[in-house]
């Protein structure tokens, strides 16, 4: 993903969308699993695990980016392993920007999914059990569909928030045009340039429109799904 031509703002918009989409793709299955563990599993250290999952909400994003760099950088323990076994490079790439975004938006996503899981009536799962459905079957046929509004809300919120992730992305993935220069990074770059005022304003308006659109879409989607689910 580099060297694509076109106006700077379209480039940044396309990148932002790609990074946010990939980050949601990464984190969604994991977020469902973590939400399930936090809601249903009882084990020692659960509170610590809960705090750990929510850490990105309270840490400076730059610190998150820095930790990612240490772990996933070319010479970091995980980064080196990924590179030698799969040829995957994360630092300073679009995939890396997506990873940083995923880590930052993960708590938001888990929160929404967890809320919906807590609202699933355990009695319905019991009913499914008496009808012959074993654990995985119950989860797929009853729990997951009933969680759908929360999963969608979590995904859309994380996507919208991911479009604007700045600190962790610039620290871990740097500010490379066409590869990691997403909307907020392009806006920041334009503001640094003496002749960039007009571009900065356009990028800011674009971000605003995008955010508004995301929130509206999320609300409409959730309403529609709720109706489908019969609530």
């Amino acid at each position: 993903m580099n060297g694509t031509s076109g106006p700077a703002e379209l480039d940044a918009l396309r990148l932002s969308l790609e990074v946010a989409a990939r980050s949601v793709g990464f984190s969604l299955p994991l977020a469902v699993l973590v939400a399930w563990i936090l809601t249903r599993a009882r084990f020692p250290g659960r509170i610590l695990f809960d705090a750990f999952v929510h850490l990105p909400l309270v840490l400076p994003p730059v610190a998150v980016g820095y930790v990612l760099l240490i772990l996933f950088g070319a010479r970091g323990p995980i980064g080196a392993w990924l590179r030698s076994h799969f040829g995957i490079e994360l630092a300073f790439t679009t995939a890396g920007a997506a990873l940083a975004t995923a880590v930052m938006t993960f708590p938001l996503m888990v929160r929404a999914i967890r809320l919906s899981l807590e609202n699933v009536d355990r009695g319905l799962e019991e009913a499914a059990r008496t009808l012959g459905a074993a654990a995985v079957d119950r989860f797929v046929s009853i729990t997951l569909p009933l969680m759908l509004p929360g999963i969608l809300a979590g995904a859309v919120t994380a996507f919208a928030a991911g479009l604007g992730e700045f600190g962790a992305v610039i620290t871990f993935a740097s500010n490379i045009p066409g590869a990691t220069r997403t909307l907020p990074l392009a806006l920041y770059t334009a503001m640094q340039s003496p002749s960039g005022d007009a571009l900065a304003l356009r990028l800011a308006m674009l971000s605003l429109a995008l955010g508004l659109l995301g929130l509206l879409a999320s609300e409409l989607l959730v309403r529609r799904v709720r109706r489908l689910l019969g609530r």
């Binding site: 319905l124 019991e126 008496t130 009808l131 459905a133 009933l146």
Partner: protein
């Protein structure tokens, strides 16, 4: 047979219950709320585990804590109709019905989709969503869903409790139809003696986590323990008889009960059908001599077999009427005035309109 012998102790409540009941038929678990009925049903279903004990259905052990056997809920083939129906909101009525059917093994098939739909009158509801159903319709769908999972035992936990009294008729006749037409044994939890009278073949009387009495409905109706559960006003002998004469104009019927006959006010039952009815003890009048000029339709020659004080300051008189036992509740003053003793011959007077009856075909019948 369904054998249950379990112990479950929790702070503030201890269930220690043992009973054995014949199958098929409807076994009523009867008691006030908090007596342990729901806990017992949940143990039978496997949703709750007893601290100790066993649950056996015919020859199969479902739970045995000593042998460390606990068949998982999903493999028990025990249907469960919950008080609140618990229909899946994201599925249509048809989807709900198919849920258990899809998961049942073909080998254990006892009833098909079309049969359930027609038996429970579900055809007009199939495309609807659970939220578009009335309380009674919901319970019928829940019943159908449980049946289609091809259960060998069906548990019903107060299925009428969340339905208006006036709309219970949307469900009760269907339960009677299931009892009379299918060979699936049922356990029916209730705190309404009316429902027991109408549906059950066997009663287990529960109080504070213990079994006070168990047996056929007419046997249990004579047990003094019943009084502490239903209160003095609903105590009364349950009799079973056959309709031998019908008078549709006056809405009355004549039943043979034991060796005698009884005039009762009863409509909508076919000639020759078996009827179960309850004579409330407080409605039964005793006379030491034949009486004339009374509106009472039944004056039955009978013998006093026992007299006991009840817990409410009155007296319960046990009578033999043509081989059947009837209870009469009278005051201490009346007892003294009549000077009744066991062995005395008396006339038992019963108003035709004071009987509560239901047509009833025993499950083993044709």
């Amino acid at each position: 047979m369904l054998h249950v012998s379990v112990l479950r102790r929790r702070p503030g409540f201890c269930l220690e219950a043992t009973f054995a009941a014949p199958t098929p038929g409807i076994i009523a678990l009867f008691g006030r709320s908090g007596s342990g009925k729901s806990t017992l049903v949940n143990i039978i279903s496997g949703l709750l585990a007893p601290d100790a004990g066993e649950v056996r259905l015919d020859d199969e052990v479902l739970t045995d804590t000593r042998a460390a056997i606990a068949v998982p809920v999903e493999r028990r083939r025990i249907g469960y109709v919950f008080q609140d129906a618990r229909l899946f909101p994201h599925l249509s009525v048809s989807g709900n019905l198919r849920y258990g059917e899809k998961r049942a093994r073909a080998a254990s098939r006892i009833i098909g989709f079309d049969e359930v739909v027609s038996l429970l009158g579900l055809a007009p509801l199939l495309a609807r969503r659970p939220r578009e159903l009335s309380g009674g319709e919901r319970q019928r769908v829940a019943l159908g869903r449980a049946l289609l999972a091809q259960p060998r035992l069906l548990l019903l936990d107060e299925p009428l409790a969340s339905i208006d009294v006036a709309r219970r008729e949307e469900v009760l006749p269907y339960l009677e139809a299931l009892r009379d037409q299918l060979a699936i044994p049922m356990v029916y939890v209730s705190h309404q003696f009316d429902e027991v009278l109408r549906l059950a073949t066997h009663v287990v009387l529960l109080e504070a986590g213990r079994v006070l009495a168990q047996g056929a409905v007419n046997e249990v109706s004579l047990r003094p323990e019943l009084q502490s559960v239903v209160g003095p006003d609903l105590v009364g002998a349950v009799l079973e008889g056959v309709v031998v004469r019908l008078d549709p104009d006056s809405g009355s019927a004549e039943l043979t009960v034991g060796t005698g006959t009884l005039q009762v006010s009863l409509r909508d039952v076919p000639l020759g059908s078996r009827v179960r009815l309850q004579l409330l003890a407080r409605d039964v009048i005793l006379a030491t001599q034949p009486v004339q000029g009374l509106s009472v339709r039944n004056a039955l020659a009978s013998t006093v077999t026992a007299i006991s004080n009840d817990d409410y300051g009155a007296v319960l008189v046990r009578l033999d009427v043509g081989g059947e036992t009837v209870l009469a509740r009278i005051t201490q003053n009346a007892l003294r005035a009549l000077n009744l003793r066991p062995g005395d011959a008396v006339w038992t007077l019963v108003k035709a309109v004071s009987t509560r009856g239901h047509a009833f075909r025993l499950a083993a019948g044709p």
